[in-house]
Amino acid sequence: MSFLQALVNGALAGAVLALPALGFNTVYAVLRFPNFAIASIATAGAYAGWIANVLWGWPAPPALLVAFVAAGAVGATTDALALRPLRLRGPLTAAIGSVALDLLLQNALRFGFGNDPRGYDLPVFRDWRLAGISIGPQEVEDAGLAFITMTALFLLLRFTRIGKTMRAVADNASLAESKGIDPARVAWIANGVGFGLAGIGGTLVALDTSLDPLTGFRVLLSIFAAAVVGGLGSIPGAIAGAFMIGIGEELSTLALAPTYRTAIGFLAILVVLSFRPRGLLGERAY
């Protein structure tokens, strides 16, 4: 397989990974702790998208919107109920609480939906072939949807009041609070937006793979890797990190047994962090 083909495959994989990584970093930027429950919340979004697409017969774009709303609601509610009190005890307590929360959510989904894989009611197309490189229409569409979502997030952060509030809190939480910004309200918004993005990302991942209670868990380590490489809490960093992990893993298969792909992702993190201990783009949110 050619270098160029691996690059294309990696870029498409990175585009899908970018959304949950973006969601993860959006939450991190404001709340300053890694929320492990993102795995099951992304899966919950994928199930919501499945309900809209298969049970209600909606096409992909509105189904993704349903995924956004559902995952955002689950993420923001569970955070307010379960994790906010823990946050007062420090970020580490909240992070560990989120592990327990993930276990709870994953099994709630399993209880309701079972383990059998669910398929979306969407056609599968043959790849296009362009100058010896094959590209899947589905993957291109996914990447396009991911790109539109990222642009929307960028516009939200740059030009709206909500966005400015979030950036202010990300920059300096205590200063923002002294200026009269209600941290609880910002937490609701950051969680709603961040986990909403994760819900869309989870649906796109499920479209490419399969939908079962472990869908989000399977990509959890890649999401972390992307977020860390880019810089925890950094919005552009999440995107850069996702592409780096996606492309790095694919390129590694040119030289190494594909079973070691994940290991290469890990080595890439180590190399980047050796030179930049706070990720490629540092921790500035935006």
């Binding site: 300053r32 005890r89 580490l92 609480g97 709870l104 099994n107 890990f266």
Partner: protein, 307 residues
């Protein structure tokens, strides 16, 4: 029933050993080492391979396991020396994943996903299953008591105070003339050695190791156990391990009380209840059942501003 309790005591002891190892770097040193499953695996494979091929008795195999795990720990400490907090946590999590991949892929060494079976242990085959379980529980808890006592002394000794100082403020420790890197390497390898020892005891007791045994589940369980017990105190690791085993095993017995649910629903309810219970415990006792006695300065609890 006694058999079953003895086997649970062995598993609780192994989790407690892992918790002790984690407590040294995390509780005292403030470094979140989530590479736990990796060191556990290195210890288990080192012990199993040396027992199978070189006919090492358990004691020698365990020392070999500790040595290899400590070396891996030192290496990881050097490589990650500049990383802090969440970055360190995620890189060490990745390390464990790589070790599991190696265990699955390097068939010439590890026998791949088939795993290594018929690992010898003192008393296996000569003792009755009950006697073997009881003696194994005895061995594990003796080792555990020794390690807990040693770590307890270490924690009270000047060495422990330096580690705490690094946890609270690395810069201050450095200015005080402490070689922070060598302390980190020391703590990492000591903790890895104990995790390796846990691996060796696990391999001997189960008689079988396979890559499947070392997935992220072990790490999550031990992290939750240590948090529930209380980070920073050695008894916290013990109490937490017992609590987690009681919780995971205790929930087995309630499945039958729920009519009308499928086996899958009972299984998911069981795991969900464990998650819920730990969330509630964190809420009610955020510092664990046995909180560390040295209190952190109140200002540091604000977290967000001090980062």
């Amino acid at each position: 029933m006694l058999d079953y309790l003895a086997s649970l005591a062995v598993f609780a002891g192994i989790y407690a050993l892992l918790g002790l190892g984690l407590n040294l770097v995390w509780g005292l040193g403030g470094m979140v080492n989530l590479g736990l499953a990796g060191f556990f695996a290195i210890g288990a494979y080192a012990s199993a391979l040396s027992a199978l091929h070189l006919h090492f008795p358990l004691v020698a195999a365990s020392f070999f396991a500790m040595l290899l795990a400590a070396a891996a720990g030192a290496l990881l400490a050097v490589v990650t020396a500049r990383l802090k907090g969440d970055y360190l946590a995620i890189v060490t999590l990745g390390f464990a994943e790589v070790i599991q991949l190696i265990a699955g892929n390097e068939i010439w060494l590890t026998n791949g996903t088939d795993g290594l079976s018929a690992i010898p242990a003192p008393g296996r085959g000569t003792l009755s299953p009950l006697a073997f379980d009881l003696s194994s529980a005895g061995i594990v808890w003796l080792v555990l008591a020794a390690i807990a006592a040693a770590f307890g002394r270490l924690s009270a000794a000047p060495y422990g105070r330096v580690l705490r100082a690094i946890r609270e403020d690395e810069m201050v420790a450095r200015i005080a003339g402490k070689n922070v890197l060598s302390f980190k390497i020391g703590a990492f390898s000591a903790s890895a050695a104990v995790m390796g020892l846990a691996g060796s005891l696990y391999a001997a007791y189960d008689g079988y190791v396979a890559p499947d045994s070392f997935d992220v589940l072990v790490t999550l369980l031990v992290v939750l156990a240590l948090t529930a017990g209380g980070v920073g105190r050695m008894q916290g690791a013990l109490v937490g391990a017992v609590l987690v085993v009681v919780l995971t095993e205790g929930t087995r017995f309630f499945g039958g009380l729920l009519p009308g649910l499928s086996a899958l629903q009972v299984a998911s309810l069981r795991q969900g209840v464990i998650g819920l219970f730990l969330l509630l415990l964190l809420r009610v006792k955020p510092d664990g059942l046995l909180p560390e006695r040295i209190r952190v300065h109140p200002l540091d609890d604000e977290g967000e501003t001090t980062r």
